[in-house]
């Protein structure tokens, strides 16, 4: 607000001559220049060394927006999420080179479907994984946000023969800034939300939801959040 007022004062005071000449800006020709001002993505060249069957990627190459750590948004880039390395991969359209985007510089990214509607929203979140001694930043897909938020860590696992990779989804519930790992089943959900047990049971029963599948898990959390909003 302060900046707006100061800029208005400056326009009034310093551009008296311009205003009095009814000066109108014809800036359409400068649009291509201002597009160049967009923050540039940077990353290390990505060479796919995975020899196993199956794709390590989440979704296909798609248009996406990358929200950088400094808040700037890099729009309309071909991106893909590498579940194997938990990395964001960027395809440079001019020469079809792939690069792994510096994870520290990225805060979140949105992948768009072909009809330009958001397909998935990933956010860098600090969680504790069982295989690491300390918490670390990973990209979690945001499935539902509200009083209780639901996230999915899209990863892959290698089979015993190490010749095939298969999908592995780990779900996290966020309650009051704490993250709880849950399994996609009724028992795990009820155990994680002991104070909302009765409410949750009612929602699951009323809507005939079996939370073994992701869409129903999302729906259950969504209904739980709506109930919370209604009661407050």
């Amino acid at each position: 607000m302060k900046n707006l007022i100061i800029s208005i004062i400056l326009v009034l005071i310093t551009n008296v001559e311009l205003i009095s000449q009814k000066y109108y800006c014809n800036c359409t020709e400068d649009i291509s220049i201002t597009e160049d001002f967009e923050k540039k993505l940077s990353g290390r060249i990505y060479i796919n060394s995975n020899m196993s069957y199956g794709s390590p990627f989440f979704y296909k190459w798609a248009n996406g927006d990358v929200i950088m750590s400094d808040g700037q948004v890099v729009k309309n880039k071909y991106i893909r999420y590498n579940r194997y390395f938990d990395d964001l991969v960027w395809l440079r359209k001019s020469d079809y080179k792939n690069a792994t985007v510096d994870k520290e510089a990225v805060n979140a990214f949105i992948i768009y479907a072909e009809n330009n509607t958001p397909y998935a929203y990933f956010r860098k979140t600090r969680i504790k994984n069982w295989y690491q001694s300390d918490s670390s930043d990973v990209f979690l897909q945001v499935l539902e946000e509200g009083n209780i938020s639901l996230y999915a860590f899209r990863t892959v696992m290698v089979n015993k023969n190490e010749d095939e990779i298969y999908d592995k989804n780990v779900y996290y519930l966020q309650i009051n800034n704490d993250y709880y790992k849950i399994d996609a089943n009724r028992l795990s959900l009820l155990r994680t939300l002991p104070d909302k047990k009765a409410q949750l049971k009612q929602i699951l029963h009323r809507n005939k939801l079996k939370v073994r599948f992701e869409p129903q898990l999302i729906e259950a959390i969504e209904l739980l959040n709506k109930d919370y909003e209604f009661s407050n």
């Binding site: 007022i5 220049i33 960027w90």
Partner: protein
């Protein structure tokens, strides 16, 4: 229509014979600054108009001086308060207390209120605006700077002043964190860089990276946006004997102040470093860092690369140095021509790099894979940081243009002004300040009062107190008073 930071109304307008009229009730618009924007069906701005709606109940600011006359070195206390403002209103004020001059009549020193009223609307019931076609439309002189300062300029060949087209232009500055920007010159040789706060008060280094071996044959023309009008005519100002005497008096005071304040005085503003912890190299973390001081002393860079930089080849072939880097992760030998940065600045003179030994280099960051940055590709990066953190002047003369991006940071009046002046008095130093106080950003909220304290100087004179500002509702505020030092 926008006012007080929010959109008030969206009015669809259909032009009839190229014109239209918009009428809106006075009750629908609050007092203050109103911004009317005309958009076309693509949602692009076609025209803009700022107007000022005169308030019914005009708020004001009041200056209460506890005394009208002070002795030299006395503590002066002023009190500022707002009248007719709401509890939630905030006022941003600038306050100055400076010596009266005989030039008051010459300088058209109008206050903020008069400027606002110049664009005010006084219609009794409804406001009317005509939308008319404008034949004076012309392209922007400079592109809008709503996202920050835009450094623009031209690169020309020195011999024939022909523009240098489609050349890679890089902008950087000497720092331990590498910030690199680039653009390609357009058909008229123009380049554009959007600069954020981290570029303030730095010597920015512009280079044409692939243009020959040096830039001696290049003319850099930076656009001067601060003085675009050349049509202003000089006029002669006839000074009265009183004015001439006053100028001489000012000159003497300035000389005395210069003598006593010369020590430790710095004209240059420091770079903005408050976001330093958030800044990172444009290309991320290096694969490894080497501190030559940890090893036995090595005389030149070739020795350093051979002994303590694994995967880095620094060689001379046909009298030309080159750097080649091995990508350990992907097991690829990258083509020769790795980029070398010296203190964060791309360095095209490998002859100079070759002369650097362990005693010169503090740290070497090695990036051992191909790096994509926007549309650029780097076949490995070698970032060398020297102890002095500088770029040699001889290199800059031959390869770069330096733009001093001087930005005046928001001024804060010394809070310990009274302590400073007391210390001066103890040392028997004269205090001939002609401006006793200046604060460009004093904020008063609601019914609170602001207390201002400062010391009177040794100059026996009358002083003007001037307050100018604006409320959060967009109402200008203005007040003036006087004090005397005897």
């Amino acid at each position: 229509m926008r006012s007080r930071g929010r959109i008030l109304k969206n009015i669809p307008v259909t032009l009839s014979n190229g014109t239209a009229k918009v009428i809106i009730s006075k009750n629908d618009i609050p007092a203050g600054i109103l911004c009317i924007v005309l958009l076309n069906h693509y949602n692009n701005t076609v025209a803009e108009k700022l107007t000022y709606i005169y308030p019914d109940n005009y708020p004001s600011v009041k200056i209460n001086a506890l005394q009208k006359a002070y002795k030299k070195g006395d503590k002066v206390v002023l009190e500022l308060e707002l009248n007719n403002t709401g509890y939630t209103d905030t006022a941003w004020l600038s306050v100055s207390v400076s010596e009266k001059t005989p030039f008051q009549d010459f300088i058209n020193n109008q206050g903020i209120t008069s400027y606002m009223l110049f664009y005010s609307e006084f219609e009794p019931d409804n406001y009317e605006w005509d939308i008319l076609p404008d034949n004076n439309k012309r392209p922007c002189t400079f592109i809008p700077e709503n996202r920050g300062f835009v450094l623009t300029g031209k690169v020309l060949q020195k011999t024939d002043n022909e523009p240098i087209k489609n050349e890679l232009t890089m902008l950087s500055y000497a720092d331990s964190i590498t910030s690199l920007k680039y653009c390609y010159t357009d058909s008229s040789g123009k380049f554009y860089f959007l600069l954020d706060q981290s570029y303030d008060n730095r010597d920015l280094i512009l280079q044409l990276i692939n243009y020959g071996t040096g830039t001696k044959s290049i003319t850099w023309e930076i656009d001067n946006k601060f003085n675009p009008y050349t049509s202003l005519n000089n006029s002669t100002l006839e000074l009265s004997p009183e004015a001439i005497e006053y100028l001489e008096y000012c000159r003497k005071i300035t000389l005395i102040n210069e003598i006593y304040n010369a020590k430790g005085k710095s004209n240059s503003m420091p770079p903005v470093i408050n976001n330093a912890c958030e800044r990172r190299n444009f290309c991320g973390k290096p694969d490894y860092e080497i501190y030559p001081a940890d090893f036995v002393e090595l005389d030149d860079f070739r020795e350093i690369s051979e002994n303590i930089l694994p995967g880095v080849k620094f060689r001379k072939r046909r009298d030309i140095y080159y750097v080649q880097i091995y990508d350990f992760k992907n097991k690829i030998i990258m083509p020769p021509g790795a980029t070398v940065l010296l203190n964060g600045v791309p360095c095209q003179s490998l002859d100079y790099i070759s002369s650097l030994g362990s005693n010169d280099i503090k740290r070497i960051d090695v990036f051992q894979s191909q790096i994509l940055y926007g549309e650029l590709s780097f076949y490995g990066l070698l970032s060398i940081h020297t102890y002095d953190g500088k770029i040699p002047e001889a290199y800059l003369d031959n390869h770069a243009y330096i733009y001093k991006n001087e930005v005046r940071l928001p001024y804060t009046f010394p809070v310990n002004d009274i302590i400073l002046q007391t210390e001066k008095r103890i040392k028997n130093q004269p205090d001939f300040r002609q401006t006793l106080y200046w604060n460009p950003s004093l904020i008063i909220s609601g019914t609170n009062k602001a207390i201002i304290e400062f010391t009177a100087s040794d100059l026996e004179a009358g002083y003007n107190i001037s307050v100018q500002g604006i409320t959060s509702g967009g109402i200008p505020l203005e007040a003036a008073s006087e004090i005397e030092v005897k």
